[in-house]
């Protein structure tokens, strides 16, 4: 690989990059949270006096908030601290700050909680034992319901040659960013300044303002370097607690999670049960019925986005003349559901691909040919009635199948090769702005969010801006700014950052270029060059250094500025097909096709991934090195979901494996060689047709591995992850 060295490499390789966990301000106090010892219960008393009796300790509970934030109208549905009922185990009930971490933890332990336990629900299937035979709709545990249908489903099933019904179960998985959540909040001169390791400084500001009931204008959020996010650092978690403690103590307060707490308090993907029925006649799917129970933990009713979004992925990128989908978001006494790299989509792809493979086998058809024959193509209509845009997946699947043919020919006994696909959409609907400053020597992009590691800001945005503006990438600088100075952006999530901000840069550059051309005095396309360390612009035969075009005020402030924005729009879905709830249209259609070769130990059921190939629809390559790295990283993260990763919840909603020893992520020795091929030419929602890349390559991974295991052994897995025990059971070894 000959890619340029990442601009953040030196700081990260010498240990000088300051992350959230490294925050340390003069006079700082250390915070700790007082966590609920039960998953559900009635709060009788919260006695902070024993904590406050300790030297230097500040303690804050629900009763203190009105005095700390006079007149504040916090969001009643998500109070900072619960006042009557514990919603989930380890829910923060109070917070303390002390001169040292040890003192803070001791003070937290000293708080006396009187809570009467109530029965807790940890298992969503326990709520609906007869589902899907009975309707779940009337239950108070249902937070959201979605349903869509189209075509004559009953007729399709009645007359079908083959009808296959199956039930799948998928696991709760954790993001496992290596850096735990950490922040420092300060209160000075009537406003808060919060430094935090986050994927979304503006999201933190909005959340904190809403939870505390104070104006957004009274909060400035400044991001730090981020030690991995994967969705876990997308919204506020610790910041409002640190802010309350800062307000109460009058000092900067640092709040960070230990790694066990990271598991216990983190918000992530929770378990799901999926029932699928498929009708086939003449080798074609004629009807599909998909039903979902999705555990959303203690998410708020009516605020669940996951079910309506996820259920689209349960149809897969496949045509069906008649279908019905129905999903329930089910509340349990787990922490609220939260996003995890392509939230729930890898689980959906596992379910869909495994099921259609099973259907093909039942109908005596070739699995891959069957799936290929039903794949969406550009211009086709999705089950929800949206027109499919440029979509590389059919071509990618052929590439993956060809790879599989070659691997199968060489595979020894005990090996198997699986092929699976997934699709995603670049989330440019979450909008953002980019501020450009064209100075004498460089073009600056002012940015509120920080690089989280994927390269989407420091590498991708710079490369996209270079292509859009013609300014060489080494003359483009990313200037980080806090939320008071940076233009708005939604955050680094949804595979949106380079795409959305790249489009915003296009708009901003349009404005800047028009001004520059006007000042050059000759109409024509603008070009930019570097001469003698200076940026030189030219249009219509006129040619001047940027320096010479700047007014005095512009020169003083560093250059000519313009802000662009982009709020992407999805295509239309057919409302006539929606029966209940909210479904979400796609801004573009991104395909991934993978091939996996596994070796399965016939005695233990242990699975080893031998080699892996990933074909990725990228629209246009923005930066090849970081793009390939996204695919490699996503594949291995997906292998964890396929093989080992499972948050184990007890029936009363206790997380039983809160640590890296018991929640196993892939290690170096388990990562297979990965071939990555980026396929261009199917334009997406980003600048020059680029598609988002952070999430799509994780989606087909568990499916590809499961199908490879089936090819190797005949074992048909209907649960993730494919632990040795599950594989051994499927092989009737246990």
């Amino acid at each position: 690989m000959t890619a340029a060295v990442r601009p953040d490499a030196a700081a990260k390789l010498t240990g000088s990059a300051p992350y959230g966990t490294d925050l340390d301000l003069p006079g700082m106090r250390w915070g700790a949270l007082v966590l609920a010892p039960v998953a559900h219960g009635t709060i009788r008393a919260v006695d902070l006096a024993p904590a406050r009796a300790r030297p230097g300790v500040t303690a804050v509970g629900a009763a203190d908030l009105p005095a700390l934030f006079p007149g504040a109208q916090g969001d009643a549905e998500r109070p900072l601290f619960p006042t009557s009922t514990v919603a989930y185990r380890n829910q923060p009930i109070a917070a303390v700050a002390a001169p040292s971490l040890a003192a803070a933890r001791a003070a937290a332990r000293a708080v006396r909680l009187t809570i009467d336990p109530l029965p807790a629900v940890g298992d969503l299937e326990a709520i609906f034992p007869a589902w899907p035979g009975s309707d779940a709709g009337a239950s108070p545990h249902v937070a959201a319901h979605v349903r869509a249908r189209h075509g004559d489903l009953e007729a399709a099933f009645r007359g079908a040659e083959h009808v296959v019904g199956e039930t799948y179960r998928t696991a709760s998985v954790h993001q496992v960013a290596l850096e735990p959540h950490a922040c420092v909040a300060e209160w000075t001169d009537g406003s808060f300044r919060v430094r935090t390791s986050t994927q979304s400084p503006f999201g933190v500001r909005e959340d904190a303002a809403s939870i505390l009931g104070i104006p957004e204008a009274s909060i400035v959020v400044d991001g730090t370097w981020v030690g991995g996010g994967f969705g876990g650092k997308g919204a506020s978690l610790l910041e409002p607690y640190a802010m309350a403690l800062a307000r109460a103590s009058g000092r900067p307060v640092r709040l960070a999670l230990g790694y066990e707490e990271e598991f216990l308090l983190g918000r992530t993907t929770l378990p799901a049960v999926v029932r699928l029925e498929t009708a086939v006649t003449g080798g074609r799917i004629v009807g599909r019925r998909v039903r979902l129970l999705l555990d959303v933990g203690s998410s708020l009713p009516g605020r669940d986005f996951a079910t309506g979004y996820s259920i689209g992925f349960l149809l897969g990128p496949y045509a069906a003349p008649a279908f019905e989908v129905e999903g329930y978001a089910v509340r349990t006494h787990k922490p609220p559901f939260g996003p995890h790299r392509a939230p729930f989509a890898p689980q959906c792809a596992f379910v869909v691909e495994s099921h259609l493979d099973h259907v093909a086998r039942a109908a005596g058809l070739d699995s891959e040919a069957f799936r290929a024959a039903h794949l969406w193509t550009a211009g086709a209509t999705t089950p929800l009635g949206q027109t499919v845009g440029a979509f590389g997946l059919p071509a990618l699947l052929e590439r993956a199948r060809a790879t599989a043919v070659a691997w199968r020919a060489a595979a020894p006994a005990g090996h198997g090769v699986g092929v699976a696909v997934g699709f995603w959409s670049t989330s440019t609907g979450a909008g953002g702005e980019a501020k450009l400053r064209l100075g004498p020597r460089e073009l600056t992009i002012v940015e509120g969010e920080r690089e989280i590691g994927s390269g989407s800001v420091l590498v991708g945005l710079r490369a996209a801006a270079a292509r859009v503006t013609g300014v060489p990438a080494d003359r483009i600088r990313i200037e980080y700014a806090d939320t008071a100075r940076a233009p708005f952006d939604s955050g680094v999530f949804g595979s949106r950052t380079t795409a959305t901000l790249g489009r915003a840069v296009e708009e901003a550059w349009g404005t800047l270029a028009a001004t520059v051309v006007e000042r050059l005095g000759r109409p024509g396309p603008l070009s930019v060059a570097v001469e003698h360390d200076e940026l030189v612009v030219a249009a219509g035969g006129a040619r001047r250094p940027v320096r010479a075009l700047l007014a005095d005020g512009e020169a003083a402030s560093g250059g000519l500025e313009a802000t662009g924005r982009h709020f992407g729009k999805g295509g239309a879905i057919d409302d006539g097909r929606v029966v209940d709830g909210a479904f979400y249209p796609y801004t573009d259609f991104t395909g991934s096709a993978h091939a996996a070769e596994v070796a399965v130990d016939g005695e233990t059921g242990s699975v080893r991934v031998v080699r892996y190939a990933a074909f990725q629809d990228v629209g246009a390559v923005v930066d090849r090195g970081t793009a390939e790295a996204q695919v490699e990283g996503a594949v291995v993260m997906g292998l964890g979901q396929a093989l080992t990763e499972e948050a184990l919840w007890s029936d009363d909603a206790r997380l039983e494996n809160a640590g890296l020893l018991d929640y196993r992520i892939p290690t170096l020795g388990e990562a297979p060689p990965i071939e990555v091929e980026l396929v261009e030419g199917y334009a997406g929602a980003g600048p020059f047709g680029a598609k988002g890349l952070g999430e799509p390559p994780i989606i087909p991974v568990p499916a590809a591995v499961a199908l490879a295991v089936r090819a190797a052994t005949g074992a048909h897995a209907t649960e993730l992850p494919l632990t040795p025990e599950r594989v051994a059971r499927a092989l009737k070894l246990l």
């Binding site: 690989m1 390789l13 992350y19 991995g228 790694y259 590691g453 490699e632 990283g633 993260m637 990965i674």
Partner: protein
């Protein structure tokens, strides 16, 4: 109970006053000496982010009592003079073997320790085997493997 602690950190003789008997080396380095390049991950010895060298050998600073390394030579990722660290940094940079960077100090120090222990010509597979205790969530290890295999290209 606290006591003064004398040790060498990145080649410099250092005395740290009033270090509690149960303080971990990770916390002494980060919060008393300000060497925050050594990262705090799991604090249970499972992730390797806190790896430092003590007398040239890798240790997990989260599981090491600070007083247990009294008099020893501690090397952290910040050490600008160590030739093995320099070589590892160069190959990591060239291979793009980092993303969020939080595991990076642990990998860099652990690999430098392996070069000291096994020799600068140690086979790549042996070095990779020695890195199994370091977790990375971003890269899928692919670029890290390339970095290790590319070590031979970096001048010692």
């Amino acid at each position: 109970m606290t006591a003064g602690l004398a040790l060498h950190v990145n080649g410099r003789a250092t005395t740290v006053p009033e270090v509690p008997a149960d303080e971990r080396l990770l916390d002494t380095l980060r919060w008393r000496l300000g060497l925050k390049g050594t990262k705090e991950g799991c604090r249970t010895g499972d992730c390797g982010a806190c790896t430092v060298l003590v007398d040239g050998a890798s240790v997990l600073s989260c599981l090491t009592l600070a007083h247990d390394v009294a008099g020893g030579h501690v090397t952290t990722v910040e050490d600008g003079d160590d030739p093995d660290l320099a070589r590892v940094r160069a190959t990591f940079a060239r291979a793009g073997a980092l993303q969020c960077g939080y595991c990076t100090p642990g990998f860099v120090v652990a690999l430098a320790g392996l070069l000291k222990e096994r020799g600068r010509d140690a086979p790549a597979d042996e070095l990779l085997d020695g890195l199994q205790g370091n977790l990375c969530r971003c890269t899928g290890y692919a670029a890290i493997v390339r970095a290790v295999r590319g070590l031979a290209r970096e001048a010692p």
